[in-house]
Amino acid sequence: MNESDRKGKPGVLPISRRDLASLLASLGARTSGLVLLSSLGTLARSRMAAAAAGTINLCSWGGAYQFSQIEGYEKPFTKAHGIGFNNIEKSANGPALVSAQEESGNVTWDIVDMLQSPAFQLDSQGILQEIDFDKDLEPAPDGTPASQDFIPGSLSGDGKKGAYVSTISYSTVFAYNVKAFPADHPPRTVQDVFDLKTFPGTRALEKIPAGNLEWALYADGVAKDKIYEVLQTPAGVDRAFRKLDTIKRNVVWWSEGAEPPQMLAQKEAVIATAFNGRIFDAIASDNQPFAFIWDGGLYEWDGWVIPAGLSEDKLARAMKFLRFSTNTTSLVAQARYIAYSPARQSSFKLMQELTYYKNPKIRMWPYMPTNPPHLKLAIAKNVAFWSNYGPQLDQRFSSWLAA
């Protein structure tokens, strides 16, 4: 569980760096034996349930994130319908593996947790099941149809039908170690992050172009709603890389979500970008002296897709689970376990008093990326932009790093 949430962006490794990081951590304190026992328990339970009413092969990101799904969605669902789960932790390579399953004609996953952008790409290749949002998803408790209740932009397609349903949004934000700066003058903005003179020290950034280029332009004075317009021009990309050049010598790069909290804790970096759930976990569970810079937080949706070509009974089970897990109360149930925001507006009303499952003194709402004061400061990640220019910018970014 210390290998907290996920969003280790598709790690390059078959054996992910997360496993390594957790191994390193377990050298310290935690007991991996417990993890093993509990996963054995899950296996045994899911086998028993399988005998009753079949299982769902569910693929997600592993770690604390999948844990929150197991607690929030799967256990109540098994209780209600007697359908068990086979939990797979391969979402880091989800798009590639779903494509491969489709190409081999042997689709083995029933429902897959995925980011919005790859889901869109797979959908336009015709390898995802179509979902009629108002028919296949539950309305809000007050009767509002699902297509109206989900936050705009969190569903795919034309908003009525599509292949992707968000469950949460997460945010990649800057966080810092409060001990590294004077208490009365901490960094507050993305501009401060790029200001090495006033706020000296190493920065830890994720080793992908997405996010870093946006922040570079934002810090260089581009308005939030103009960032992607500027980034679409070659001159804008040059400008972003020039800005990144100014801090390049003071940056260490991370590629797995577990790394930035560790780097901050060991003071290998004083400011780091990280998935907000990770920093929350470090603050709430490990009492780390970290604080957020919500300015410029880059938020993005994550949710379910169902591969096309499932047999009728498998599809029926997957759709049943989709309906269950995306209803208003299931999303709230999940939010007790992780600081990622539900995708439904109706869930928000039930969340104000929600507390962390490990510590009833910690309210979840102030840590949610969709909390209005945070949302006002945030940048919405432009999924279409990265679909178009991702491959090219990645190559340029890799080349820039290697130089």
Partner: protein
């Protein structure tokens, strides 16, 4: 039986009929023997065919195959087959654009692809060649699908996006109409088609593959050299021991083999990280500054240090087994004839050990250029290999064609090295003992 047959045929004066029968019997026996031998190797043959030759062939095919447009846009492909983009004409000239029918074909194809839900394949393939084509195809498809089927398509498409009036874009469509392509190889060598259709290098800020190929080569060569320098004296020392002691030391050499690769790498991370064991010792000994300790990992140095250790046994074992077979008496004879011990070693022992050196060098180098996990974990930026880029294209950018081209080039380089090696030293001289 074959023996008696052989002696029978050797005898002259046997009746012709009998000789023929004997000959036939002999041939049948030989055929059976050959068949038996073949049947014995059949499982291995099937295994290699199924799990090596066919996947390898699949990879090579994938690096050339370009099925997307021929399969998804058949009408457009058929019309563009007869259209020749003029060479060297200034851009924007009407003659540089295909006929009106091509626009109608594009619209019809995209409409079909919209209903079949396959337009994303077209978009993805074109986007690999032209960043931004993803959005262009998606936008055009959605618009076209909601228009009546008999519009004036040239105008409509050009209004949807000005890209449809650019000769360069049509040239791309024409190029992608072919069922095989060299695009992936161009990309793998940091080359691209320029706007006028000529091949040139990609802008400097996007070049990466050639750099990584060269880096993979020189770092692997350095690692091979280091394993040789470290492994040769060790193998020599072990080969001169009594057998029982030698076996114990060989077990020590083999110990890393029985330890998981990941565990070994994690151990190195613990040792080499910025406040790790090595740096702590250096700092305590005032050999390094505490505020700015030397970076021993997450760079090229880390890759070299860790891979040298990981690959060392592959050098020591062939060296040892060859050296073991060189009798002490040879060097002693040279010394007793007056050679200096060093000269005797250099002139007698070293040449005799060369087959082992050859095997070790070839083995370590070929393993090294394909290495993947170690550079990914301890290589940081400057220690990444080409295999990490292949994995990126397989798993993240989903550009399997490019991944296959990079893989094929890597395989090709390995084969070429093997052939060169064979020419210079001779594969027959390689010995694994």
């Amino acid at each position: 039986m074959p023996g008696s047959a052989a002696s029978a045929t050797a005898k002259p004066g046997l009746p012709a009929a009998e000789r023929a029968t004997l000959k036939r019997g002999l041939r049948r026996a030989e055929r059976q023997k050959r068949l038996g031998a073949f049947l014995l190797t059949l499982p291995l043959l099937a295994y290699i065919l199924l799990l090596f030759v066919i996947p390898l062939g699949g990879m090579v095919w994938l690096s050339f195959a370009n099925p997307t447009l021929p399969a998804q846009m058949p009408r457009t492909v058929a019309i563009l087959r007869h259209w020749q983009p003029p060479q060297g004409k200034p851009q924007g000239q009407p003659s540089a654009l295909p006929p009106e029918a091509a626009y109608a074909a594009v619209a019809a194809d995209l409409r079909t692809a919209f209903h079949a839900h396959t337009f994303g394949r077209i978009a993805k393939r074109l986007n690999e060649e032209l960043p931004g084509a993803f959005g262009l195809i998606n936008k055009t498809t959605f618009r076209v699908a909601h228009l009546p089927p008999d519009a004036s398509w040239k105008k409509v498409l050009e209004r949807i996006d000005p890209a449809w009036s650019e000769p360069a874009f049509w040239r791309l469509l024409k190029r992608e109409s072919a069922p095989v392509t060299a695009d992936f190889y161009l990309a793998a060598l940091d080359l691209q088609y320029g706007p006028n259709g000529h091949i040139g290098r990609v802008p400097a800020y996007e070049r990466i593959h050639v750099l990584l190929f060269l880096r993979t080569a020189w770092m692997s060569a350095l690692i091979t050299l280091l394993t040789l320098v470290l492994g040769y004296p060790l193998a020599y020392w072990i080969s001169r021991m009594r057998e029982r002691r030698a076996n114990i030391v060989i077990i020590a050499v083999l110990l890393p083999f029985w330890t998981s690769l990941l565990v070994r790498i994690v151990a190195w991370i613990v040792l080499l990280q910025s406040h790790g064991v090595v740096n702590s010792v250096l700092i305590a000994a005032h050999l390094a500054s505490a505020s700015n300790p030397p970076k021993l990992i997450y760079n090229g140095l880390g890759t070299i240090i860790v891979m040298t250790q990981v690959l060392l046994p592959f050098m020591v074992l062939p060296l040892y087994s060859v050296m073991r077979g060189i009798p002490d008496s040879y060097v002693r004879a040279a010394v007793s004839l007056g050679a200096h011990p060093w000269r005797a070693f250099w002139k007698v022992f070293v040449p005799l050990s060369l087959p082992g050196v050859g095997a070790g060098v070839l083995l370590v180098f070929i393993l090294a250029i394909g290495y993947y996990i170690t550079p990914a974990l301890v290589g940081g930026q400057s220690g990444q290999f080409i295999s990490n880029r292949i994995a990126f294209n397989v798993q993240e950018s989903l550009n399997w064609g490019l991944a296959a081209a990079l893989g094929t080039i890597l395989t090709g380089v390995t084969l070429v090295l093997f052939v060169i090696y064979n020419r210079i030293i001779g594969i027959g001289r390689i010995s694994l003992g």
